[in-house]
C-alpha cells in the first residue's frame, strides 16, 4: 500500500510465483527451440540463431496472451482473482523476454550493415503499401515500445503520481500492443513459413482474448444500464440484509455510473465506494478480513466504518450513509468525503 515505495515488491509468495513463471519461460522456450531445430522434411535445418529469435518471440507472445486474459477472466469468474495479484510481475517478465527477442533480432538482421540498426529496421523492407509484404518488424517494434513504457511505469510510484485512472488508461495500451503483435506474428509467419498453422493458431489466441474482453465489457455495461431512469436524489434500494453473506458485500449501481458496495460483518452493515484507491479494483468483490474490507485485486485494506486504511497506511475512500426500511437496505447516493465515519447499521434480528 502507499506507506513506502520499494523497487520491486517481493514476498515469499511472489518469489515462488516468479520462479514458476521463470520455469515456464525456460520450458516453453526450450521445447520450441529444440523441436524447431529438427531438420525440415526438405533436408534444410533451421538456423539456431534465427530459431532462438522465434522461440523468444513466441514465448513473449504466449506470456502476453496470459497477461491480457487475466483481467476479463477475473471479471467473469472470481476463481481467477488470485492471478490479478501477480499480474504486474508477469507483465514485466514478458517485457524481459520480449527485449531478448527484440535485441537479438535487431543485431542478427540489422546489425551487420552500414546503417544504424534501428533505421535499417524501418527502411530495409520498403513495402509499406502491401499487406502480405508489409515490414512486420515495424509492428513488433511499435508493440515493444508500448511494452517498454508499461514496464517502466509498472511501479506504485508511477501509479501514485499519475493517479489510478491515468495509469490504468496508459496501461490499456497493452491491448493495441497485443493487436500489433498478433499482426507482427501473422505477417511474419506468412512471409517465412509455408504452412498456415502458425498464423491460424495466433489468430485463435486473439479471438479467445478478444472474446473474453468483449464478454467482460458487455457484462460491465449491462450492470450499469440497470440505472437508467433513476434520479440522483432520493435513497437507492439495494437488497435485504440477508441477501449479503457474512464478511461479503453486494454491489449496487448508483446514478452517474457510480457503484456502492454494502458489506455485512459482525452483525453490522457499512457502505463504501466500490472503487479501490490503488488500481480502482472492485472492492465489493472482496471480503472483510481481520475487520477490514480487502480489495480482491491486490489486498489493499480499508475499515468499513470510515473507509480509512489501517495504520501505518493513510489511504481513504468514500463512505455512504445507509438505512433499513421495511426489511430492505437503502443507500443515500451522495457519497461522504473520503474517510468520513458512518456509524455501522446493525443487522435487524431475524423474525
Amino acid at each position: 500500500m502507499g506507506h513506502q515505495y520499494k523497487a520491486i515488491q517481493w514476498n515469499g509468495n511472489k518469489i515462488v510465483y516468479d520462479l514458476y513463471v521463470a520455469a515456464f519461460v525456460a520450458l516453453y522456450f526450450g521445447v520450441f527451440f529444440v523441436v524447431g531445430l529438427q531438420p525440415h522434411p526438405s533436408g534444410n535445418a533451421a538456423d539456431p540463431i534465427v530459431h532462438a529469435i522465434r522461440a523468444l518471440g513466441e514465448t513473449a507472445f504466449a506470456l502476453l496472451t496470459v497477461v491480457v486474459s487475466i483481467g476479463p477472466l477475473a471479471r467473469l469468474n472470481k476463481r481467477f482473482l488470485p492471478l490479478v495479484y501477480n499480474r504486474r510481475h508477469l507483465g514485466v517478465i514478458t517485457f524481459v523476454v520480449a527485449s531478448a527477442h527484440f535485441g537479438l533480432a535487431l543485431l542478427w538482421y540489422h546489425g551487420g550493415g552500414p546503417l544504424n540498426p534501428l533505421i535499417s529496421l524501418f527502411v530495409s523492407n520498403p513495402l509499406y503499401d502491401s499487406i502480405p509484404g508489409f515490414p512486420f518488424e515495424t509492428l513488433g517494434f511499435a508493440a515493444f515500445l508500448i511494452l517498454l513504457i508499461m514496464a517502466a511505469t509498472s511501479h506504485d510510484f508511477w501509479l501514485n503520481n499519475l493517479s489510478a485512472p491515468v495509469w490504468k488508461a496508459l496501461h490499456m495500451l497493452v491491448y493495441p500492443a497485443y493487436g500489433l503483435l498478433v499482426m507482427h506474428v501473422v505477417l511474419g509467419a506468412l512471409m517465412t513459413e509455408k504452412a498456415a498453422i502458425h498464423p491460424i493458431l495466433t489468430g485463435a489466441s486473439f479471438v479467445f482474448v478478444a472474446g473474453l474482453h468483449l464478454a467482460a465489457g458487455v457484462r460491465e455495461w449491462s450492470a450499469d444500464s440497470g440505472m437508467k431512469g433513476l434520479k440522483a436524489k432520493g435513497w437507492v434500494e439495494v437488497c435485504a440484509p440477508d441477501d449479503i453473506a457474512e464478511n461479503r458485500a453486494v454491489i449496487a449501481p448508483l446514478p452517474k455510473g457510480e457503484r456502492v458496495a454494502v458489506f455485512r460483518y459482525d452483525g453490522k452493515l457499512s457502505a463504501v465506494t466500490n472503487v479501490c484507491r490503488h488500481q480502482n479494483g472492485p472492492l465489493g468483490e472482496g471480503r472483510v478480513v481481520d475487520g477490514c474490507i480487502t480489495c480482491p485485486w491486490h489486498g489493499w485494506q480499508y475499515r468499513p466504518n470510515d473507509g480509512v486504511s489501517p495504520p501505518p497506511f493513510t489511504e481513504k475512500i468514500a463512505t455512504y450513509t445507509l438505512k433499513i426500511e421495511g426489511g430492505r437496505i437503502f443507500v443515500d447516493p451522495k457519497p461522504n468525503p473520503p474517510g468520513t465515519h458512518v456509524e455501522p447499521t446493525p443487522v435487524p434480528a431475524a423474525r
Binding site: H40, S42, G43, N44, A46, I131, P132, G133, F134, A164, P165, K168, A169, M172, Y175, P176, G179, V182, M183, V186, L187, L190, M191, T192, E193, K194, A196, P199, I200, G203, F206, V207, A210, H213, L214, G217, V218, E220, W221, D224, K256, G257, E258, R259, T273, N274, V275, N280, P282, I317, A318, P335
Partner: protein
C-alpha cells in the same frame, strides 16, 4: 468515485477485434506462394 474506463475498455475491443481479424484474414488470402524458409532444395 466511478470505476473509470469501463466503456473505454469495451470501445477499444469493439474497434480492435474486427480490425485485427479483418487485416489478418485479408493477409491470409494474399500470402506469398513461396515463403522464405521453404526454398527449393539445391543439391550439393
Amino acid at each position: 468515485m466511478r470505476r473509470p474506463l469501463r466503456r473505454f475498455h469495451l470501445l477499444i475491443w469493439l474497434i480492435l477485434a474486427p480490425a485485427v481479424l479483418a487485416a489478418g484474414a485479408y493477409a491470409l488470402t494474399l500470402r506469398p506462394a513461396t515463403p522464405y524458409d521453404a526454398p527449393p532444395v539445391v543439391p550439393e
